[in-house]
Symmetry: C2
Subunit: 256 residues, 2 copies
Amino acid sequence: MTQIPHDHPRYKSLITREMAVEGVKKGITSTQGLIAQGRGEAFDYLIGEYSTESAKEAERAATAHLLLAKKPVISINGNTAALVPDEMVELSNIIKASLEVNLFHRSRDRIDRIIEHMESHGAENVLGRKGDSVLDLSHDRRMVDHEGIYSADVVLVPLEDGDRCEKLSEMDKVVIAIDLNPLSRTSQCADVTIVDNITRAFENMLQYADEMKNLNYDKLREIVDSYDNNRIITLAIDEITTWLSKFSKESGTKRL
Amino acid sequence: MTQIPHDHPRYKSLITREMAVEGVKKGITSTQGLIAQGRGEAFDYLIGEYSTESAKEAERAATAHLLLAKKPVISINGNTAALVPDEMVELSNIIKASLEVNLFHRSRDRIDRIIEHMESHGAENVLGRKGDSVLDLSHDRRMVDHEGIYSADVVLVPLEDGDRCEKLSEMDKVVIAIDLNPLSRTSQCADVTIVDNITRAFENMLQYADEMKNLNYDKLREIVDSYDNNRIITLAIDEITTWLSKFSKESGTKRL
């Protein structure tokens, strides 16, 4: 891995980038996954590379949904496996969720490598090899495990594509998306849209899960019922425009 | 290359992505280059994936600068070689510019491969192998050819990093940057900042070069002197905020 000095102002972002590149070398992240990583970097840069208050609110509601779920599943792809393997295992343990590998660029080899990688990070019974149920989609993400995503009531889909998000939503599942682009179809169709970097999102959700795991049904229900995803998405977009306008004014002064 | 249907609404963007992935397979584009491609995609999406009026104004001024130059150089990296090889050769022929390979992740092998690739697209005398002059920078982009970038008066740097852009600017060269992020250090320090996708930017500059190649010195000078880069950057940022605000309102309605 390229050495990044710890005091670099964008240390976290650069380390995350290197982890994605390592993921490609290990054969778990696709080359297209690197492009997705770059898109995420750009949006993260535009929200200021921190967890906004609205993102934290979404993360709190997401955690409540996951704790209330009868059958929660965390969907894994080549990017999340490279970036947050420990965090996914830890969250799945607290909320008693299954982990399922689901790839846009699906290959048996890559599924096996990701499952082995997750196992080396302490995961057990990772689903995704069977693909014995099929969603009505034209690409490989249609193949899901019957005992996993297909029959789940709440699905956490970090870095999801829009098609599948819509399909899962039509199946009346609660869809929680982590997507740095608040305008994407995924962001627009999810029940809870977390506009945050996945490394920060998992860190925050782990903290919320720890704080909230002993709350009773009514308390969790209250958090879920009072959550307004439209408001959160609008706030995320406003966050970017405010930042851009501020920058535009400041840089105009600097450049005079 | 993955087949993309011609009628896909984002055909051009997807084809460009596939070309970058092909570039990695050929050993001319770096894996980090794919992440840069993704960052570009995100910003392109935010300006609406078209050449804005302000981008065209910058492209026109850039072309005038290149036509006025005594010693113009077009800097090539692993992404531009994959995406616009023919266009770089064609532009260099019209404006009588040298082509020079200059890489952030420099290796002799990759330089050779990029030069061979450019030659297969009709380029002659591609510079970049010597690296016999050194800019005061901490990374490999410091190594430039004395007869090329080092002694150039106008440098076109598509997809440049901020450090080198500042250094070239300090050396009193006219720096023309193509960068989809109007907030980047490169965009902020260049003399002409083209906030546009490189495929569209080259297409437009080729058209301008063809229209303007017979203009006399005074006419070209007038175009250059009346150009205000601060205004162009501010317009590019405004373009994004306007688009986001519009989206925010519309999607708020749709989601109600």
